[in-house]
Every structure is written in C-alpha cells, then in structure tokens.
C-alpha cells in the first residue's frame, strides 16, 4: 500500500515536472532563453536515415558546445515516417528532430505532425531555404542538406577530354562504349530518376509545368520520343538496381559512367567503400540538384533543444563542415563550398527536379516502356 502511494506521488510529481518542462512557448522567448532552456533538456533524438555513423561523429561538436547529448538511432526513411505517424497522437513522441524529403512535408503538415513555423524562431531564418524540390513548407522545415546529381565516371577507363556534355554526345558515347553506361532503376534511387527527367527535357523541351504543382497529361504527350531513345540504346545501357549498385559496379569495373549523387559518392569514398579514383561532373545539358530538409515534430517534449540543434545544423559553420565531409551543397549562403567534388562553374548546370506528380509519372512511364 505504502509502495503504491509512493509510486502515485512520484508519478504525479514526474508528470508535473514533464508538463512544466514543456510548458513554454518558443515564439514568445528570446533566443538566449531558448538556449538556456535547451541546456536544461539535456538530450535529443535526431532521426536521419543516412550516414548515421558519420553524423554521430559530427554531432559531438554540438554536444561539446551546448552540453546536450544527441542520439542518432539506426533507421531508414520509411521507418522514420511510420514512427512519426504512429506516435502522432501521443503527447510526447520520441522523435525530437527529423531529416526529411520535402515531398513528405505537405501531408505531415496537414496532419499537424510538424511544429512550426520554425522560421518564426530561428535567428538566421531569413538566410535559409524553406522551399525545396518544388515544395514550399511555409517555414515548417528548412533545408539543411544540398545534394546534386551528375555523372560519376572512372577516369582510368573514360577519356576526360571527351566527357559527353550534350545529350547527342552522350548518345554517341553510349553507342561507342556499349554497356559502359549504367542507369539505375528510378524506382530504387534518385540518380536514375534525375537522368530520366533530364532525358525528357533535353529531348522534348523544357516545360514550366514540370516544376509547378498540379498535373496535366497533355504535357507528357511527347515523352514517347524519350522511351524510343532508351529503346534504341537498350542493348547498350546497363540497368542497375540502385544508386549504390551503380557506384559499386563502377568500382568493380563493370561500368565506367553512371548518373550518381555527388554527396553519395563522396560519402562512400570517405568510408573506403569506393575507390577515390572515381570522379564526378555535371554535364552541360544539366542534371537536377535537390536536398533534404530538417524539422521538429509537433509532439517533441524538447522543443528548445530541438530548435537549438536545427539552428546549429543549418549554420554556415556546420554547412561548411558538411561540404568537407560529405560533399553536400551548403544551404547557408555564408558557408564555404570549395571542398565539393565539382567546381562552381559546373554547378551552374544544376537544374531543378520535377515536382512529385511529374516525377512519379516519369518513373511509371519509364518502368512501363523501358524496364518491362
């Protein structure tokens, strides 16, 4: 009986403390108050679906600076989204900060799963992007990771003076080097998806509709020309199963050129999975660049610490570090991007990704007309 009473008292006190701990409004606090509150919160769970071991190392700088422990659980992208949805009705979820593809944001915001707008609180918000890959988040998420697609190639097997810069030149290179060009299944990796989108715009003309919300089938009527091009080269192109598979096959000498992500290649090279010999370029006919956003769930019980972390990860200093370590494109304008795999001259060939409707249609049409 005594034990039960003590337990009940302890539970009540704990509940009171918890309520008190989260009973503040970030939007009414000064930044120094937020920092002070954040340090009282001691630890946060940051969900990122890639390169977790390396993020853990980099996040130690945040831990040292603010005395707030950062835990990065092992996870994948779908798992993170599922956990966020499943915990949605809970008063305090386990996810404090989450990296996310911008395309996922609208549905999560509609379901009140995201705290915001965080741009009302972040000191450097004016310098940060809230729109990515055609999705405007209204300040509920900010871009923290820029990634660029291009072509990875093995310079020991590809003449660098003859790197294809136009789509016609690429077609000729593919015919002259059968099976040396790999394209990954767009359903299993964004690099292949990026290449197919550029094939569409280069062969049928660019269309503003591809980058705006809404879908009109009449904009896709000329796409059959693209599938004919792929069909013509079907015996010369190697279809790979994922972004990683393309780079792995290039490492093994099976193919010598393939669409890839700049940050993915650099990350794998840094971990000794891919030979550092492999290089990367953005052809003049353009390849899409995009990125990932960072946000905090509406039910995090550690809003101040989460906000402080988002401010830290999007700062010029950390974005410069990401560029050095991962090859990601900095998302803060004051950051240094000189350690990237490609030069600023090449980066001007960066294009936008299609919005979700046209991207999905392109993937589906490629699957039906080329893969099947």
């Amino acid at each position: 009986m005594m034990n039960k009473t003590l337990t009940a008292i302890a539970a009540t006190v704990a509940l009171g403390l918890t309520t008190q701990a989260s009973a503040y409004d970030l939007k009414e606090m000064q930044w120094n108050q937020i920092v002070e509150q954040a340090q009282k919160e001691k630890a946060i769970n940051v969900y990122v679906w890639y390169f977790q071991p390396r993020f853990r190392t980099i996040f130690k700088d945040f831990e040292d600076k603010y005395g707030i422990k950062v835990r990065v659980p092992n996870s994948n992208e779908k798992g993170n989204i599922n956990k966020l949805i499943a915990e949605g009705k809970r008063s305090a979820g386990k996810i404090d900060v989450m990296a996310i593809d911008a395309a996922r944001m609208p549905s999560l915001m509609q379901n009140n799963l995201v705290y915001g707008p965080i741009t009302d609180v972040l000191p450097d918000a004016a310098k940060l992007k809230t729109k990515l890959n055609g999705v405007e988040t209204g300040g509920y998420a900010v871009s923290f990771w820029g990634n660029q697609t291009g072509f990875a190639y093995d310079p020991s097997r590809v003449n660098e003076k003859e790197l294809p810069q136009s789509f016609d030149a690429l077609g000729k290179w593919i015919s002259d080097n059968p099976y040396a060009f790999g394209v990954n299944d767009p359903n299993k990796g964004g690099a292949g998806n990026a290449f197919i989108q550029r094939a569409i715009t280069n062969m049928t003309g660019d269309n503003e509709a591809y980058y705006a919300t809404g879908f009109d089938a009449k904009n896709t009527t000329k796409w059959s020309e693209v599938w004919t091009w792929f069909d013509k080269h079907s015996d010369e192109i190697t279809i790979t199963s994922s972004n990683a598979d393309s780079l792995t096959r290039m490492n093994d000498g099976e193919i010598s050129m393939a669409p890839a992500w700049e940050d993915h290649l650099k990350g794998l090279q840094a971990q000794g999975a891919i030979t550092p010999r492999i290089k990367f370029y953005i052809p003049e006919f353009g390849m899409p660049g995009g990125g990932n956003m960072i946000m905090m769930p509406a039910n995090t019980s550690k809003k101040a610490a989460s906000m402080l972390f988002i401010n830290w990860i999007t700062s010029a200093e950390v974005q410069t570090r990401f560029n050095e370590v991962f090859g990601s494109a900095p998302q803060h304008p004051d950051a240094d991007d000189s350690k990237a795999l490609v030069s600023q001259e090449q980066r001007q060939f960066s294009k936008s990704f299609f919005t979700a409707d046209y991207a999905t249609k392109a993937k589906k049409a490629f699957t039906e007309n080329v893969l099947m």
Binding site: S75, N76, K83, E87, T248, G272, A273
Partner: protein, 279 residues
C-alpha cells in the same frame, strides 16, 4: 536391402561430387567472398582492376563492432524472439485445436479471418498496430514489441498447429481411451508425439518472424530498443557499404547457424516412428 546396379557406384560418386560442387558455388563462394570483403582495409578500397584486395585487416570488424550497436541489437532480438515464439504457440493452441478437431458453424469464415493479417502489407500493420498499442498506453518498448510480434506470428502458428491437430488419427485417440487412458494420458501419448513437428515448426516460424520484423520493432522500440533488422535496414539501404555489410552479415549468420544446429538436433527424433510405433 537395395540391389547394387551395374553403374551404382559411379552414380553415387557423381551425385556426391555434383552435390559438393553445387554447394561450393551456392554457399561456399558467397561465404568466402563475404569473408574477403569484410577484411578489406577501410583505407585501401578493393576496386578494379585489382583481382584481390591490396591490404587486409580487421579494421572493418573493429569499426562495426564499436559503432553499429550490434551487440545490443543481437541481445534484444534473441531475447524478444523466444518470448514471442513461446507466447504465440501457447495462445495459438486453443484456436488451432478448434480448427483441427472440432466442426462448428462458421469455421471456414473463422479460418479466413484468422489468416487476414498475412495478406495485409507489413507497413500498414506496422504503423496502425503500433499506433493502437501507443493509444492503449502499451508503449513500453520491450513488451510492446513482444505483443506486436506475437499478434503478427499468431496466424502462422494457428495454421501450422491446426494442421497438426487435424493429422492425429482418431483411431489412436479412441484406442487410448478404450484402454482406459485419461485425457492427460491421451494428450501426452497420442497428441504430443504427432504435434511435436508442428510445435517445432511453429516455434521456428515465430522466431524467424520476430527476428526479421522491422516496422513494429522500429516504431515501438526506437530509440531505446534496437533489433537486428533495424541495423540491417540501416546498413543495406542508401548507405550501402559492401565491406561493412559483409561484416554485419557474417556476424548475424553465426546465431542463425547455431539456431539451425539446435533445430536439426531436435528434429533428429523420428516423430513418425514415435507416433505410430513403426520403426
């Protein structure tokens, strides 16, 4: 005794040779390749045109053991899975008995309803079932996962055990009762020998289902409880690094091999002989 044909010896040798060659390529080569890849030094990638890695080391093993949280994941998975197997089989027994030995109205419909979870996509079950457990305040990670996995494994256990109950010959039950055997005696000497393979198969299925399940384990467990699939999904997806994946695969295969040896040992008994008395 079988008669020896003219070329029987040759056929026997060829069969064994063929078996060894096939297994060498099917199991041996991938295993050796995984071992070789796991020993590639982190600072010296193995790439074309090198036939073999330039530098071998245990660097990857050390790195993965220290950074991946494998020990915790293995401990969790191999604690949760046996509990799930045990609970599932116990809970499945009454329903399986009813399906296997009793005729009742709506039996066919009940059998279909029980199997429904099998045709639902894992992700849907993962999200909504986890959400329900959280709503019921059953969100304590460890027991939440045990409950979730038990529910997921139940249809398999019911299906296998009902077939086992169904296969027990009625004349053996009648004989036991005619000879004055009590219900317990009949269960012990008639049902149990025939049920053993089904029980073992159910336990194995439930173990495997629990060890392989990701969605419920992740949604309810993360970040406090990490299981083996969480590590696997993390290392085999976007961040796929072949040497690291080789290390993880080899570490994970060891408990499974031990489990298979135990099962093999358990299955060595001749249940058919035990149940029918015929050697």
């Amino acid at each position: 005794m079988t008669a020896q044909t003219k070329n029987g010896g040759l056929i026997h040798k060829l069969s064994i040779g063929f078996f060894i060659i096939i297994n060498f390529f099917w199991i041996g080569v991938p295993f050796l390749m995984a071992l070789l890849w796991s020993l590639v030094d982190p600072k010296h990638p193995w790439s074309y045109p090198d036939m073999f890695p330039k530098v071998l080391s245990f660097g990857r093993w050390e790195q993965m053991w220290e950074t991946s949280g494998l020990v915790e994941a293995l401990t969790n998975s191999y604690t949760i899975a046996p509990l799930v197997a045990l609970f599932t089989v116990i809970l499945a027994l009454p329903t399986a008995y009813a399906f296997g030995r009793i005729e009742f109205r709506g039996k066919k419909l009940a059998e279909v309803v029980v199997l429904l979870p099998l045709i639902m996509p894992g992700m849907i079950i993962g999200v909504f079932f986890s959400s329900m457990l959280i709503s019921l305040e059953l969100s304590e990670p460890f027991w939440g996962i045990v409950i979730g996995h038990t529910v997921l494994a139940l249809p398999y256990a019911i299906r296998i055990l009902s077939a086992s109950f169904n296969s027990v010959p009625q004349d053996l039950i009648d004989a036991s009762k005619d000879l004055g055997g009590s219900s317990f005696t009949t269960f012990r000497h008639v049902f149990m020998p025939m049920l053993k393979p089904g029980l073992l198969a159910s336990l194995i299925f439930c173990l495997v289902i629990s060890i392989e399940e990701f969605n419920i384990a992740f949604v309810l467990g993360s970040p406090d409880i990490t299981t083996v699939p969480t590590i696997l999904y993390s290392y085999l997806g976007y961040s796929f690094i072949r040497p690291n994946a080789a290390v993880i695969s080899l570490i994970l295969v060891i408990p499974n091999v031990i489990l298979m040896l135990v099962i093999e040992r358990l299955l060595k008994g001749n249940y058919l002989a035990e149940s029918t008395g015929k050697a």
